[in-house]
């Protein structure tokens, strides 16, 4: 039985048993080789009254009479091999029914509904057709963004971006599986469908101007593709210059902007003790919220000696704190007084519907990332909140929804910090104030459970750590079945999407990003083309 080309009419087999919670079992027809099946694939089941859609979650080998396998048939004889396949021995699929579509006009209008029962015995099972997939996920339109294709199919799986941005979402997967590439696509989707404006804390400087693929070639960042819709903010001016990034704004943060809460979050990264973190609040009371850091960093040895007894703290506590804070000096973007206000600038761009990507350049360590992302987000969030409250009063128009993307999310959202960072708060509040998160992480088990449960849509590439898989799938129907699907994803460019903005879980091959063709499909015009287009428009203007 050679590899087959399946079309949508290919019958795979029929239902022989099962349940709604565990999924149904499909006996494969003899003509279908188990080797051509794959977990994660979609199938359609013709029930008596309705059509079911489901996903293959397991493939197994069965024998009618297991005792007979003690003296296996002589399958070296091709005739005997053909006879026994599908009869004495057969392949079996486990399929999780997820959606149904009724046959009558009413149910066709209502569209696919969650499956509440299973198809009857011996219902025919086929591969899902292109039309089925389109029916379930909708065609590309002004809300839906093409994110990838189902396994072994050409059809587009589309994500309803306007639904997507109404909740916080997560992109997961172990290192090198395609999180960054996927996130780029999601950012493009949000930008194109104008569903939200993005603020990206771009730790490794790969979203704004230019990224790299593992194979070594460069891939365009968002700014190159959509120059008028994206602003690149730089934390590391020098690195931006070397990389020839066209930067819109250089971020400098004044010491006077750093509040005790910011240091609180850095406790681990700066190696601070609990006591010295507490001492920060004392220092702030002593010297004022805006001045304390500058003052402390400039204290002489003598001044320190006088201060310690006054604050009633331990000498070692003070030393530990001082050492930790000295670390901040190595960041050139921290200055005693900032010449401009980055929060205000970011907000200006966001208000105009322009996406802001803050590149960290060489400061891609956690101290800088946690400090800056938190500090800026807290203030931006406060502004959104104020505006949302005013909007509720009817004074101003509500602001455009904002999605804040953070990488290495477990650093902010672990159980210890989730209650204290602004990000934990945004995740829990849903979109009360028009702000949601896109968290990107390779260690989802490190993220607080409550935060994970608040994520609307999860897109996960391959994970192989049991705890990570568990944490991503917590609370999902058909968890154990999806688990086997998730752990069998390809190591790259495949993802399982489930949750709020998709009608049923789906495994996709992520849309290609990085080829000239892919840029074009995303709407990018080469410079020459852009020029031609503008000239043509001008010409048209003058045409008689």
């Amino acid at each position: 039985m050679s590899e087959q080309n399946f079309d949508e009419q290919t019958r795979l087999g029929s239902i022989i048993s099962g349940s709604l919670t565990r999924g149904v079992e499909v006996k494969l027809d003899a003509s279908i080789s188990v080797e051509d099946m794959a977990v994660g694939r979609y199938v359609a089941i013709e029930g008596e009254r309705r059509r079911f859609f489901g996903m293959i979650t397991d493939v197994s080998l069965e024998a009618i009479d297991p005792r007979a396998m003690v003296t296996p048939p002589d399958v070296s004889d091709p005739f005997i091999a053909q006879v026994v396949s599908g009869t004495t021995i057969y392949g079996k699929l486990r399929v999780l029914p997820m959606l149904t579509i009724g046959g009558d006009a009413m149910s066709i209008l209502e569209g696919p509904q969650p499956a509440k029962t299973v198809p009857t015995h011996f219902s025919e099972v086929k591969l899902a057709s292109q039309r089925d997939v389109e029916l379930v996920f909708g065609a590309e339109d002004d809300k839906r963004f093409y994110i990838g294709t189902p396994l072994d199919m050409e059809t587009k799986v589309c994500l309803d971006i306007s639904e997507f941005v109404t909740r916080s979402n997560g992109v997961f997967g172990k290192s090198g599986t395609g999180k960054t590439f996927l996130t780029r696509l999601l950012l493009v989707g949000m930008l194109q469908k104008q569903a939200a404006v993005s603020l990206v804390f771009d730790m490794h400087s790969e979203y704004g101007w230019e990224g790299r693929s593992e194979k070594g070639y460069k891939v365009k960042g968002l700014k190159q593709l959509f120059p008028s819709k994206v602003a690149v903010f730089a934390l590391d001016e020098e690195s931006s210059r070397w990389r020839k990034v066209s930067t819109d704004f250089v971020v400098k943060i004044g010491y006077d902007e750093i509040e005790p809460e910011d240091i609180d979050l850095l406790q681990q990264t700066l190696n601070l003790t609990e006591a010295s973190t507490q001492a920060v609040y004392q220092l702030a009371r002593e010297f004022g919220d805006r001045r304390w850091l500058e003052v402390v960093l400039n204290l002489t040895e003598d001044e320190s000696k006088q201060l310690i007894p006054k604050l009633n703290i331990h000498d070692s506590t003070y030393r530990n704190l001082r050492r930790g804070l000295e670390n901040l000096r190595r960041f050139p973007f921290l200055v005693p007084h900032a010449p401009d206000n980055p929060v205000k600038r970011i907000l200006e761009y966001l208000d105009r519907g322009i996406n802001v990507i803050l590149e960290f350049g060489r400061f891609d360590d956690f101290a800088a990332y946690i400090l800056v992302a938190n500090l800026l987000s807290r203030r931006i969030y406060a502004q959104y909140r104020e505006k949302a409250e005013k909007a509720m009063g009817g004074d101003v128009a509500p602001s455009h929804p904002l999605v804040i993307s953070i990488e290495e999310a477990h650093r902010f959202l672990n159980p210890e910090l989730a209650n204290r960072t602004i990000f934990g708060r945004i995740a829990r509040e849903m979109r009360k104030y028009n702000v949601t998160l896109l968290v990107i992480d390779q260690r989802p088990s490190g993220i607080d459970d409550e935060v994970m449960s608040q994520l609307g849509t999860k897109i996960t590439c391959l994970l192989d750590d049991e705890r990570d898989i568990d944490s991503v799938l917590t609370g999902v129907a058909g968890k154990s079945e999806l688990k086997s699907v998730l752990s069998k994803l390809e190591t790259k460019q495949q993802a399982l999407i489930f949750g709020h903005s998709v009608p049923m879980p789906v495994v996709i091959k992520t849309r290609e990003y990085g080829s000239a063709e892919s840029y074009k499909e995303l709407g990018f015009l080469e410079a020459a083309e852009l020029k031609r287009k503008t000239e043509k428009e001008i010409e048209d203007l003058w045409a008689p």
């Binding site: 009618i64 009479d65 002589d74 004889d77 005739f79 005997i80 053909q82």
Partner: protein
Amino acid sequence: MGTEQRVAEVIEASSAEFVAQCYKLDQAPPLGSLVKTKDELRKIYGVVYNVETHSLEPGRRVVARGEGMETEDEIFRANPQLAKLLCTDFQALVVGHRQGDGLHHYLPPKPASIHSFVYTCQLEEVKAFTQSLDFLGLLVDARLPIPVDEVIAACLRCAGQAYPDSESFLIKAGKEMARLLSSDARRLNSVLKRLR
């Protein structure tokens, strides 16, 4: 077995089988082949499962006569009475019947009539009868004085000749056997090996 030929006459009949005597000595239809009897109401189909040639008179044994002769034919030329004293019978297992337009793969309400003529079946008819393989169930469960799996295999090989693509017919039939013998791998293997 290509064309329909009248070859024998029923001399013993029961619901599940019949015995027919051939008109010509040694000219029985092959083991496993499909034969039929007809009357006004129905045709009854049988599968030949045993062929015997013996003396017509129960008490008289056949003796060897060819010692001084060149060929076997000479024996008959020299003893013309022999052809009258010997006969060839065959036994057939009833596997189905046709009544009006309906073809049924189960036993008819009445056995074949005594003295009804027995015909071989044309390829077309074999093909029509073997469209459904339900009759294999009757064969599998039959208790015969000779190894039944030999008969089944012979029957399927014969039927295969009615199909231009005999290979796929045999695979289909093999699969039916696999279902019927699902709990007896040894028996299945032996039938399958005999299908080639």
